[in-house]
Symmetry: C2
């Protein structure tokens, strides 16, 4: 490969492939040239071609299939999970199920509850002492039989002990808001802290996150006034979800 600039060959090839993808010359599902073809086209060794592919795979633009080829990833439609639906009645189901059904998927889930003690970070979020008793529930959510969301929920047992909802999801299935309503705890608002990062290996495995795709990581806490009621960590593959928030803007009382 004629190397006029000082830029490494593998980056120039990555640039070329990337622009062909982003410009639309290569579309979702299209097959890239084979490594052998690119070696000839660009006049470089195999290691350079593979490094170039590594780069754009790390950007989530292509996926490799051993024995077959490298393909442009096509944008699947994202499930839109909406919080703060305007004009909505009080939520009675889980936000997950609503989002899945709105996307024409059939939602299902597994869960596993266990009483344990609150780690430092969770205790702070729930406003309780570190080490206090909590109910921890791991959820795995499925859409069309594919796992799409992982969640770990914590509730202080001071709140639910001895009530019909001490064990989440026991009996009928409803969301946190409705469950808490049923024991006289009336949730007023929810705070979600949204972050993104590369998946941990078990997350990539569990959620089938393709290489180069990050996860959305959400810390959610439900409140009754100033008092935290439930908190959860939520993880989804970023190429499957859009998290949508509708937030009211308060009306200014004075016109300074």
């Amino acid at each position: 490969m004629a190397n006029f600039s000082g830029r490494p060959a593998y980056l120039q090839i990555a640039d070329d492939l990337r622009s062909r993808i982003l410009d639309g010359a290569l579309r979702g599902g299209d097959k890239l040239p084979t490594e052998a073809e690119m070696m000839a086209d660009y006049g470089v060794s195999r290691i350079v071609v593979r490094q170039a592919i590594d780069v754009i795979r790390g950007e989530g633009l292509v996926v490799s299939q051993r024995g077959v080829g490298v393909f442009v990833r096509d944008q699947q439609p994202r499930t839109r999970r909406i919080l703060g639906d305007l004009y909505a009645q009080r939520a009675t189901g889980s936000p997950f199920a609503a989002a899945a059904r709105a996307s024409g998927q059939s939602p299902e889930w597994e869960y596993q509850s266990r009483q344990t003690t609150a780690p430092q970070a969770i205790a702070e979020r729930l406003g309780i002492e570190s080490g206090a008793d909590v109910m921890r529930t791991h959820y795995r959510f499925f859409a069309d039989n594919q796992p799409v969301m992982l969640s770990t929920s914590y509730e202080s047992l001071d709140l639910t002990r001895g009530t019909p909802v001490e064990h989440p999801e026991a009996g009928q299935v409803k969301g946190v808001v409705a469950r808490m309503d049923s024991i006289g705890v009336h949730i007023t608002h929810v705070i979600e802290d949204v972050q993104a990062r590369a998946p941990r290996p078990y997350e990539a495995e569990a959620l089938q996150v393709p290489a180069g795709v990050p996860v959305l990581y959400v810390e959610r806490t439900y409140f009754e006034g100033q008092r935290p009621v439930e908190t959860a960590d939520i993880i989804v593959s970023a190429d499957r979800y859009t998290f949508s928030y509708a937030v009211p803007i308060p009306i200014r009382s004075t016109n300074r």
Copy 2:
């Protein structure tokens, strides 16, 4: 390296390094063994060691410095950008500046406005005809003289033409809510669609996103009732920001 399982050597080494980092045996800022040391330690060739490092660098766990070594990335505190601050007065400044100041940073920004026509996607978000006149403004936001947020904002010129706020940010600096207030458009709510993905090269360059770190990508639209008023694309490095949303839960009127 003794390879009992069928798992490739570079993945086993990556697993080992990853667990040493996540377990805390290697902490932020610590230097990994050199490639030569790892070749001896694990009994593999250099290419295997480098592939292992490539893996954990792609996960955002380490950064390489040529001529120096490979170091564990340390978690810098994230700026928390809050939307829906409860008990807040009507916003008069930009959410960006508020978040920066709350983190003890000094916010600044550059912008460039230009009249253009609405592309398809923007027209849909603004509820106008594709090709209609819009004012487009590119922003680059800085905290402590480092670029930390990119934004592209669109407003329909049908709304602002001939008003004092036709050019965003001309004159005094205030947020969209206050600007629109001043021409009698009273924003009622904002919708933010949050996604994450690997950065484009120019984004990684502009925002100094380290390898293995995704970006948060937000489509924000301000509304006056049902009518969209302004929409913007917002991009930040995911290792610098937490986006926080406080969403009220409506009170159920009927107890079915």
